[in-house]
């Protein structure tokens, strides 16, 4: 960089969108813009999404990030972060992931909610959050940080829409009434070999706890989770890199399986 960027919210959103479009990862914005605090980062994220909508995309839901306590302690926060999902990130079932559209994608298995009711904080609890869920699904999320080597501070990753890249949701819809999501298990496999396992308890103790915390956090920014929206509740295991020709599978106890193949 030969010329100092004159940073503001709009510029940061443009820089991140350009990095995504050109598949060009970059250093943390906070290295160059000391003013990028968490509140500002969420405004960058909102601006970035507004620009995607202006380009023809539609909002389909919310993703929760940093939902494991270990990751939160590393980042110095005590609730999940949120990002906005658009239809531009949605993969159709059985359509291969195009690696040439991404920088350094990694995949993680998730428990996915589809909302029956609007969920607006404050005062949302895990019980009321779960009551707002229509159906639960298996999911795989592809994350792809626009920062070099996934190295970022909390405001950087929030501004980058929490590394959102792609997601696929399994076709089996299960009522949350019949599930114990803390014990809902997932086996993550690469080309058929199991590489990691976890249960829903890895997500904030229970995915509905994460959903409640996110709803309450969104309310502080004047936002809510809408009826019909998809919620990616957070990675159950560490994310694994995906390479050309690989098939990544997530097999759940009750939610069925979901697969993703890369070309």
């Amino acid at each position: 960089m030969t010329e100092a960027t004159n940073w503001d919210i709009d510029t940061a959103a443009d820089v991140l969108l350009a990095a995504e479009a050109r598949r060009q990862d970059r250093g943390p914005i906070t290295d160059e813009w000391a003013g990028l605090d968490l509140g500002t980062a969420y405004r960058v994220q909102r601006r970035l999404v507004e620009k995607k909508i202006a380009a023809g995309e539609s909002i389909v839901g919310v993703k929760l990030g940093l939902t494991s306590r270990a990751k939160q302690e590393r980042m110095g926060i005590d609730s999940p972060l949120t990002a906005v999902l658009t239809d531009g990130y949605a993969l159709e079932a059985d359509v291969p992931l195009q690696l040439d559209q991404l920088i350094h994608p990694r995949v993680e298995p998730e428990i996915v909610f589809v909302m029956r009711k609007r969920l607006e904080g404050p005062g949302v609890t895990a019980a009321t959050a779960l009551n707002a869920v229509e159906s639960v699904h298996a999911g795989l999320e592809v994350i792809d940080s626009r920062y070099i080597d996934f190295k970022f501070t909390l405001p950087d990753v929030v501004a980058d829409n929490a590394s959102s890249a792609r997601f696929v949701v399994g076709g089996k819809a299960v009522s949350p009434k019949n599930l114990d999501l803390a014990l809902e298990a997932c086996a993550l496999s690469v080309n058929g070999a199991v590489v990691d396992t976890a249960t829903g308890a890895a997500v904030q103790g229970h995915p509905a706890e994460a959903l409640a915390m996110a709803a309450n956090d969104l309310a502080r920014r004047g936002e809510a989770i809408e009826a019909g929206q998809v919620v990616l509740t957070g990675g159950l295991t560490d994310a694994v890199f995906i390479h050309a020709g690989e098939q990544i599978g997530a097999e759940f106890s009750n939610l069925g399986s979901v697969f993703l193949t890369a070309t």
């Binding site: 803390a182 298990a185 199991v194 396992t197």
Partner: protein, 269 residues
């Protein structure tokens, strides 16, 4: 893989491990003090200790399979599990504090334990015959321990050290296999109420039954049969967690209920 160490060296290694139990002082890795130690040497060293223990009147209650997860195999650079022997006097009751001072460097991990209904004699055991031989599954906690300093183990070290076996706590609900999907049976491991690990049966060689097949065929090749009533701990569903005096560790499983190990406070020992 053939024996590299002489008879005297193998006897000496077994003696030093036996002394580590007595003294409570771990020994340096055998692979550093006796370079060239092979897997075959290591099983011979394990069996020498087992022979000593059975001569003392200790009763073999079953086997454990170790090194069954992708993560631990990557960590040790191996692509095969190992096995050790479980003794009846190392089974602790759920309601009674485990004397943590009896161990050198204990860790704990949740397992889906099997109890055999019929004997299982390899070689030639398949998933079908293994499933057929299992009487029931039971929620289990395995206390693993190492007589090798600071767990600095390579594959022959842990094999020689009875596959790092320590103790066992079994739950009390026997669950028949026909209601279980062993692969996607989940577990949450809590230490003092805090979630430490989560996992599922698939972490164990893809399914815990695969570990039983491997065990039956491996010991079968040595002329050893797994007996009816034997307990088999097929491998951990999560990474192991360190335990300290006073800790309470609970593994809560889908379908299998829970099992709790309490560790005596330092003052109680």
């Amino acid at each position: 893989m053939s024996p590299q160490l002489g008879e005297a060296d193998r006897a000496d290694a077994a003696l030093r491990l036996l002394q580590a139990y007595e003294s409570g002082v771990a020994i340096p890795p055998l692979t550093t003090t006796q370079p060239g130690l092979t897997v075959e040497d290591a099983y011979d060293i394990q069996l020498r200790q087992v022979a000593r223990w059975t001569a003392q009147g200790r009763k073999i209650a079953g086997h454990k399979v170790g090194l069954t997860s992708a993560a631990i195999q990557r960590q040790l650079g191996v692509d095969s599990p190992d096995y050790g022997h479980l003794f009846a006097d190392s089974f602790h009751l759920e309601s009674q504090p485990v004397p943590v001072g009896a161990y050198l460097n204990p860790r704990i991990e949740p397992e889906i334990g099997f109890v055999l209904r019929t004997p299982l004699a390899g070689p030639g055991v398949t998933v079908a015959s293994a499933l057929d031989a299992i009487g029931y599954a039971v929620a289990s906690l395995e206390i693993i321990d190492s007589r090798i300093e600071d767990w600095r183990i390579s594959l022959p070290d842990t094999i020689a050290d009875n596959a790092s076996s320590g103790g066992v706590v079994l739950g009390s609900v026997p669950v028949p296999l026909d209601t279980l999907d062993l692969r996607t049976t989940g577990v949450v491991l809590r230490r003092n109420g805090r979630i430490e690990q989560t996992g599922a049966g698939a972490a164990v060689l893809g399914s815990p039954v695969n570990a039983l097949v491997w065990l039956a065929n491996t010991v079968g090749a040595l002329g050893v049969r797994l007996e009816a009533g034997a307990v088999v701990l097929p491998g951990a569903l999560t990474a192991a967690v360190d335990v300290s005096p006073g800790d309470t560790v609970t593994a809560t499983f889908a379908h299998l209920g829970s099992v709790t190990a309490t560790f005596a406070a330092a003052s109680q020992e």
